[in-house]
Symmetry: C2
Subunit: 356 residues, 2 copies
Amino acid sequence: MVTIKDIARTLGVSVGTVSKALNGRDDVGDELRARIIDTARELRYEPDPIARRLVTKRSRTLGVFMLDRQGFGVRRNFGWLFLDGILRGAAARDYDLVLFSNTDDTRYERSYIDICRSRRVDAAIIVGLRGDDRYLEDVLNAPIPVALIDTEVSGGTATFVSSDNKAGAALALEHLAFLGHEKVATLRAPFSYPGRLRYEAWAEFAAARGRYRDDYIRDGDFTPESGMAAAAAFASMKDMPTAIFAASDLMAIGLIRGFERLGVRVPEDVSIVGFDDIPNADLVGPALTTVAQDTLGIGQAALDAVLDELDSGSRREEILVAPRLVVRRSCAAPGGAPDFLPEGSPAASRGVRRTP
Amino acid sequence: MVTIKDIARTLGVSVGTVSKALNGRDDVGDELRARIIDTARELRYEPDPIARRLVTKRSRTLGVFMLDRQGFGVRRNFGWLFLDGILRGAAARDYDLVLFSNTDDTRYERSYIDICRSRRVDAAIIVGLRGDDRYLEDVLNAPIPVALIDTEVSGGTATFVSSDNKAGAALALEHLAFLGHEKVATLRAPFSYPGRLRYEAWAEFAAARGRYRDDYIRDGDFTPESGMAAAAAFASMKDMPTAIFAASDLMAIGLIRGFERLGVRVPEDVSIVGFDDIPNADLVGPALTTVAQDTLGIGQAALDAVLDELDSGSRREEILVAPRLVVRRSCAAPGGAPDFLPEGSPAASRGVRRTP
DNA sequence: CTCTCTGTCGAAAACGTTTTCGATTCCAGC
DNA sequence: GCTGGAATCGAAAACGTTTTCGACAGAGAG
């Protein structure tokens, strides 16, 4: 390992000067600086990040916590996809990422912030923090910049980044309206914060059109099973809706499976639109039309938030990133052909994407 | 931040003694050691990992590279699952994980091993390395322990860890045989190494039963589209197989979608079994029966491999971890009811798992 | 010519550990 | 009483940087 001393020795200068030259300080002569840079390159010198951290007290690393909600967020959902966005952002700004997870109990007898402290990370991004987490207090009062992704809590000094749930739901509802649906129901998940927002969008949309009906509301818990149950409930109605907006893909797929079992066809008899765009949502029965969370954008936004706070000290309360409607095959005009998709959909102007 | 000096000062001893006491050296008195440990706890002292690394030259961190094969491994959310296993193993052995990805081009103008060197990580785990990677040479001659996951290359000093593909395929084929299938075809992916192994298992199985037929072999490329094409080809045969073993879930789902379009029912008319157990494979049309890769086990095995090599210097060429058959609804007895699953399946004795 | 200022460089401390080596004490054994 | 060794502790170097401060030269101003 070639150190700064080696290049100091070969040039007959002091290590301090080498350090200053390499770091672009202005108190070193142009000619000498050039020679230092040359031999540094020649010797294939790379500064030791460890030694640098020891003196600068900044580690240029940030901790990422992937919190496992008993397999809910991580295994089938897209928790990992956020990581992709974080990763790209970190690479672009030359930060390192150290990864933690709370699946192992022995290690997480300590608060996440405590772990950050002991690992000397500059900032933290936590994905999947729940409102009843036992370390919630610590997180909200953290002495370092913290960004929260895919979480249901609010308040405190952390910055929250999530999809713009109401705008996303509006995208889906506008698409259904454009297809000609008047009787659109919702399968909501009112126990969660994003679930409530998505429902509110539905309620406002329905009310604005004079189409609000209490019996077009069913409650689920984000599981496919609750979707199947809701399908049975909807199918037994005398005035069945022609379209259903589900608060999550998992429930939307549950609806599809439920209707399938009951012999009602999707999308011929009823259109279904989900929310999330979980992995392989394009492969389930009729490929799912859904509003896709911009997981990459969310991850990058979270990273930028903590790093900006680190640099400038300016903290942002909340960051909403726009989702995108991706139309596939689970929605059609009421009674129309499944492939019908008129040009000029209002959703199209906002970045609709069509995939096979 | 309370340092080792604080402890030394409050106790009136030297820092060296404190360090030795805390690290369990034997040249410090029992009574003094007890007092040191007490005040360390009292002062909430935590050793600074940065300073420690500087002197010990071991960072207790390892680099993980998630290589993106243009969205193939990563976006479908398979690669990330390995990370979960790696994470748990690292937590158990008190190592930190720094994460890299090659999605950002600017950062990866350098070899992965070069990055490890500059980041001073002790070992590396690379998931998704391709045989035509431009840094392949560097990886195979790396001066640090390296484990390769989900890769198609071999040779060199790295240790390869993957599913036992032949055993897994055998699991699926035995299950089909037990259900009563005599005419089982395969949709293979011969361009990839695991694909070839899975095919070989089919060929051996078929040959052993005198059921080998060239026209029961179709080739795909791991995409759902190739599965749909194969479905059309199989459906047009005069002597159509009653079961198909697909070399991947994506192709298996493609088969299902293709048959669905042609009006042949799964599993009533043809049984289909896949390989991988990708996320949400239980939600596609008929829930997919498949052989599940033990992603957790693979990740942990990779981690143990590099860490053991670090500790003892003993390297392992290859590690095969056993997959598991998970039976759902895409397989049935030929002409039988979809829910038929006889007791005492031979696969059951090897850890078959049944999920709704 | 002297004084001050600017530009350029080196010396040294500092960051928080670990580890080596030597010093000191104490006690057993002769 | 002296020697030898074991037990216990401290001093100091070392790891590879960054940063502060002072030294020195030269130049420009008075």
